[in-house]
Symmetry: D2
Subunit: 346 residues, 4 copies
C-alpha cells in the first residue's frame, strides 16, 4: 500500500481526495491536515465520511509529517503551497501540488499573474500533469503540478487540433462555465447559496482570469507556436462541473466526420476521455463524480467554425481525480486504479 | 381600460402575461383560452394566481372571441399561431403574436427554418417589436411580431455597435445560456427536474437554432449589410433568465471608456436598458421578474476583442413584458405602464 | 410622503425593504445604513437595484439620523437592535424592529433564550405585529416588534383553531422548512451554495430554536391557556419561503368542510391570507415575492388529526412585507399600500 | 458471475441498477428491457453510461428472456409488475420486484389502496426485503418485494423503538420529504424543472399516500400490535434523497444517551446504517449515491417527545441499492458486494 498524506484536507478538494483515496485499492491515507479543524475527527468537517475513517485532522508543520507518507497531496491555495511544497520535495517525498504555484514554467509569467514566488528553485522539477498528453514525463517525475480545472477542460478539448494546419490559431474563443465548488469552501458572500442559486454571471471578463497563462502555455507547447486565447469564465448554479464551449475558425472547410475521426484517433486508448458520436452533446450530469472528460464536436458550416464542447467534473478530472491519476503514474500503479467511478445521474 | 385577450394562456408565457396584466393600471384581461384547462378556473393552471382573478379558461375559436378584446396576445407555439393570428387581425383587433410565425419578413427564410407558412399574406403587416430600436414603426402598427427571447438579448446587446467601422462583422460569436422556462410547459423528458437540475449542456450546436435567422435579419438591418453569426444556446438549471456572452473582433483598439460611452449614449433615454459601469458584470439574479435588459462591457486588450454580456428575463423582456411594452405603444399608453417591477433577489 | 429610514440595509431583509419601499406610493426612503458598505452606492451591495435609487449607505450613529425619518426600520441582528432601537424610539420616531429583541413580553423568557437584554425598559412599548390578529393594537402603537418568519407562518396557521374545544392543545407538532435567506447574508460555511444545494437537513432539533417562545407566547395568548409545542426547523435548498406542516390531534372528529369553514370565516376580510379550497395544497412557488400567507387544510380520518400547511415568503410576510404592512397601519395608510405584488412563478 | 436481467431499465431506478451493477464484482447484466428505447443503445437513454456498456435495450416478452438470467430485477410501475413477475418466478428465476405489487401480504389491503391484483397467488412467496430487519428470511427467499423509498427510511428509523414500552404507539407522526426522482422519469407537468425548482409542497396530505399500509404492516409486525400512523410526504427541489422526521410521544422521560444506546446496539453490526452521535443531524448530502441510512436522534424534554431523523438516497437504499443488497443475500454473495460507494459531496 502506498502511504498518502493530504496537506490541507478540510476544503472541497481535500474532501474529494479523501472520498477517492478511501476506496483506492493500493493507497492508504496516513495523515490529513487542517488548521481550522485541527484535532477534530475528519467527519466533523466532512459529515458524509462518518464511519468511513478514523482519521483526525493534524495541524502539523510539513517538516513533522514529511517522513510518514510516500506521496503528499497539497490541497492549498496558491501562495501557500509554494511555502510547503519544497519541504516535502526536499525530504524526498513524491509531491502532487494542486495549487497554481508550479504550473507555469516561466517565473516572469507567474509573477505577472500571481505575484512573487517564494520557491522558484523548485519550479523546474515540476511536471505539468495531464496524463493523456504528457504521460511519459509524468511517469518519471517526482513533483507534479496538477492542472487547473478550467485548463484541463480546455486543453483536452483543443489538444487534438490545436496544431492543425486548417486551424486559425488567432481565432480561439473559449466560453467556460463552472460549478460553485470551484470557488472553494472559504466563506465569502459571493459563494452563498442565495447569491448563486437561480443566478448566472460571467466574471473576470476581458482576459483577466489567472488560468489564461496556464492554458496558453500548454496550447502553445502543443501547437509549436505562441497562442493567445480569449477566455471568459462564468459561474453556474451547480455544485460540480465545468463545461467549456470552444470556438475556432477553420481556414478551410472540414467535415464533421473528419473532425470526429481526428479526436477518435487521438483519444483512442484513453480510459478517461469519451469522444461523443455525431449529434450528441455532453452534459455536466453525464460525468458527475468521475474522472471523465467528455467531448462533443460540431461544425458550423455557415460560418466555417468548429465548436468543441468539453466537460469535466472540476473536483475530479479538474482536481482530485487527475491528481490520483498522476499519483498512480508516478508510483507505477495502474493508471486507473481507484478511479472506476460511474457517473451519478440524476 | 384596454380590453385584453390572451389566446393560449396556460403555459409559462400565458401565465406571465396574466401576472403582469393583472396589475396593469390601464388594461383588463377579458378572456384567456386554453385547450387543456378549458372550463377550469385560471388558478387551477396557475395556483399562484388564486384569489387574484375570477377568470376561467375558454376553449373558444378565435372567431368567437375576436370582438371582445381590443388587443389579443397569442401565446401559442409557432405553426399554430399562423392559423389563429389572421382571424384576429382581419377582425380589426390589435394583435401581438409571441410565436416565431411573423418575425421573419422573408417567407423563404421562414420556410427554410420552420416549414410551410399558412398565412404568408399577413407577414407584411407584422412589425418586429423591439421598442428600443423600432419604436416609431411599432407605434403605427396593428400587428406585432414579438421577438424571441435569445434574439432580444443579442440584438439589444449588439445594436449600438453592429454598424461600427471598427467592428469585424464576420467575427461575431454568441454564446447564450437560457433558463428552462424557455422550453415551455409541455411535459417532455428533457425538461424534467432531474434532467436539468445540477446539469448544463449546449444544444443545437453548429448553427442549428431557429432563432439564428431572426437575429441575422435584425442585425443585418441595423448594420446595413448581410451578417452571419455563430450562435450556440445552452440550457441552464434555473427557471428564468437568458445571459448572452457576445464576442467581436475589433479592427482597431477601442478603449473601454469609449465603448461604455457608445452604449451609454445609445440607451440614454431607455427605461428598460441598464448599461453597467466599468468592472460590473450582470447576473440573471439582477433582472429577475422585470423588463430590464442589463448590459456589461469589457475589452480584452490581449486579443483585441470586445465582450458584451447581455441579460434579460426570458419570460419578461424576452416575452410577456416586451409584449406589454409593445401593447402600450400601439395603444398610446405610457410605454412603461404596468412594467415597474423591481427585480426579485434573492 | 412618509419619510423612511432603514438601519442595517445591506442584508437580505434590508434589500427586501428597499425593493418594496422603492415602489411604495406613499413612502420614500431617506436613508439606509450599512457598516460594511458605508459610503458606497446601494447598488454595490444590491446590484439588482442599479438605476433604481441614488442612495448611498451611511454608517451613521442612530442619534445623527434620528430626526430625518418619520419611520425607522431596524434590520439588525438581535442583540444589536436592543442598543439602537431605544435611540429612535426615545427621539419620538415610529420604530419597526425586525429583530427578536422586543418580541417577547416576558424579560425572563427573553434572557433564558437569547441572553441579557440591554433595554428592557422599552419592551412594554413594543406591540407584536401580526396585523391579521392584532390590528387595532398595532394601529395605536409607535413601536412594533415585527414577528419572526417561522412564527408568522405558524401563528397564522393555527390562530383560527388554537382555542377550539375540539383541539388537543398538548398535541401540537410543527415541522417547518425554510429557505436559505433566513440564515442571512453574513458569510458562513453552512450557508455556502455547495453546502445547501441538493441538501436538506433538520437543525436545532429537540425544542432548541429561539422562535419557540415567540410562538408559544402568541398561541397561548390566543388560546387563553399555556401551550407548549414541538417545533423542528429544516433548511431547504431554495432562496425564499417557509412551509410549516402543523399536526394537531382532534378530541372529536371534525369534517374537512367544517374546518375549511372556520378558516374561511376567520380570514374572510384579510387581503394577505388565502385559504385554499379542499384538495389544494400550497407551494412555496405560489407566494414568492409577495405578502401572502397561503393555507391548506386536511383531516386524516384514520388518525383523527388535522394537518395545516401554511406557507409564506420569509423575506416578505416573514419580514419586510409584514413590516411595511405594520408601517401602513401605524401611519394611517391603506394597509395594503405598496404590497400588491403578484407571485413570481416560475 | 451472477447473470442479471433488468426488466424496465430506461427509468431512474433502471439506470441506478445499471450504474451499480456495472461495477459489481460478481454480477453481470445480460439484458435490459425498455419499450420506449427498444433497439437503442443503453447510452441513448442514459448518456452518462456512454462507453461503459455495449448493451442495447430489448423489448422482449418476459417469456423470451426468462432463461437468460439468474436474477431478474423488475423496475416497473405497480400494476405492470404483477403481470410480469410471475413469469420469471414460475420459470425458476430469482426475482427482485421493485414495484409495490408484492409488498403487502394482505390482498384486501392491497386492493383497497392500489386496485385489483392480477397475480395474488404469488404474493405468499414474496419476502419483504429490508435486510437489516429480516435478513434470514430474505436469504432463503427466491422472490423479494423490494421496499418502497419512504417506507425504508421510516421503518429503519423506527424499528429499534417501535415495540418499546415507553413509546405511545398512537402518537407517531411522520413528516417525510423526497427528492423529485421519486416521481419517476415519465414526462408529467408536475415533475418539470420549473414546477419543482425553488418550490416545496406537501402532497397527498391527510393519510392518502399508498406507502402508508406498507409502513403500518412492517411497524405493526415489529411492534406486535396494530399501529396507525400519520404520514405526510413533501416534494423537495433536489434530485435524490428522502429525509423523514419522525415524532413520537414518550410515556416516560427517556434520556438522549439511552436512546442513542438503543439505536447503537440495534444497528451495531450493520454496514449500511450509521447512527449519529449526539448533536449531529443527518443531511441528504451525506448519503448521496450510497446505500446508507443515516439516523439522528433527539429528545424534546419540554414536550416529552423523541424525534428521529432518518435519511436515505431514494434511488439507492430506497430502491436499486437495497435491491442489490437483497440480490447479494439470495445469491449467497457478501451482503455489501458492489455497494461500497462513498457519498458524493458536494
Amino acid at each position: 500500500m502506498i502511504k498518502v498524506g493530504i496537506y490541507g484536507a478540510s476544503g472541497y478538494t481535500g474532501q474529494e481526495l479523501l472520498r477517492l483515496l478511501l476506496r483506492h485499492p493500493m493507497a492508504e491515507v496516513v495523515f490529513a491536515t487542517s488548521r481550522r479543524f485541527a484535532g477534530k475527527a475528519v467527519f466533523e468537517a466532512h459529515p458524509s465520511l462518518i464511519g468511513l475513517t478514523d482519521l483526525r485532522f493534524l495541524d502539523a508543520p510539513a517538516e513533522d509529517v514529511a517522513q510518514s507518507a510516500d506521496v503528499v497531496f497539497l490541497a492549498l491555495p496558491h501562495g501557500t503551497s509554494m511555502e510547503i511544497a519544497p519541504v516535502f520535495y526536499k525530504a524526498g517525498r513524491k509531491v502532487i501540488d494542486l495549487s497554481a504555484d508550479y504550473r507555469l514554467s516561466d517565473l516572469g509569467t507567474y509573477e505577472q499573474w500571481y505575484g512573487r514566488h517564494a520557491s522558484p528553485e523548485v519550479i523546474p522539477a515540476a511536471v505539468y500533469g495531464i496524463p493523456e498528453l504528457w504521460r511519459e514525463r509524468i511517469r518519471e517525475a517526482r513533483f507534479i503540478a496538477n492542472p487547473g480545472c478550467y485548463p484541463t477542460s480546455v486543453i483536452l478539448g483543443l489538444a487534438p487540433i490545436v496544431g492543425s494546419d486548417w486551424l486559425d490559431r488567432s481565432s480561439i474563443v473559449i466560453d467556460s462555465k463552472s460549478g460553485t465548488s470551484g470557488a472553494g469552501r472559504e466563506p465569502q458572500m459571493g459563494s452563498l447559496f442565495c447569491e448563486v442559486d437561480e443566478g448566472f454571471k460571467a466574471y473576470k471578463v476581458g482576459g483577466q482570469h489567472r488560468h489564461i497563462p496556464e492554458m496558453e502555455q500548454a496550447l502553445s507547447g502543443l501547437a509549436g507556436e505562441r497562442i493567445t486565447i480569449s477566455f471568459t469564465p462564468h459561474l453556474l448554479p451547480v455544485s460540480r462541473g465545468i463545461l467549456s464551449t470552444i470556438y475556432v475558425n477553420m481556414t478551410r472547410s472540414l467535415k464533421i466526420d473528419d473532425l470526429l475521426d481526428v479526436y477518435g484517433k487521438f483519444y483512442r486508448n484513453e480510459a478517461f476521455v469519451r469522444v461523443y458520436p455525431k449529434g450528441m452533446s455532453p452534459n455536466l450530469l453525464s460525468i458527475r463524480g468521475t474522472n471523465y472528460c467528455d467531448i462533443g464536436l460540431s461544425i458550423d458550416v455557415r460560418t466555417q467554425r468548429a465548436i468543441i464542447v468539453s466537460v469535466i467534473d472540476n473536483l475530479v478530472k479538474g482536481a482530485a481525480g487527475q491528481a490520483i491519476q498522476n499519483m498512480n503514474l508516478i508510483c507505477g500503479l495502474p493508471e486507473d486504479a481507484g478511479l472506476g467511478m460511474v457517473p451519478l445521474f440524476p
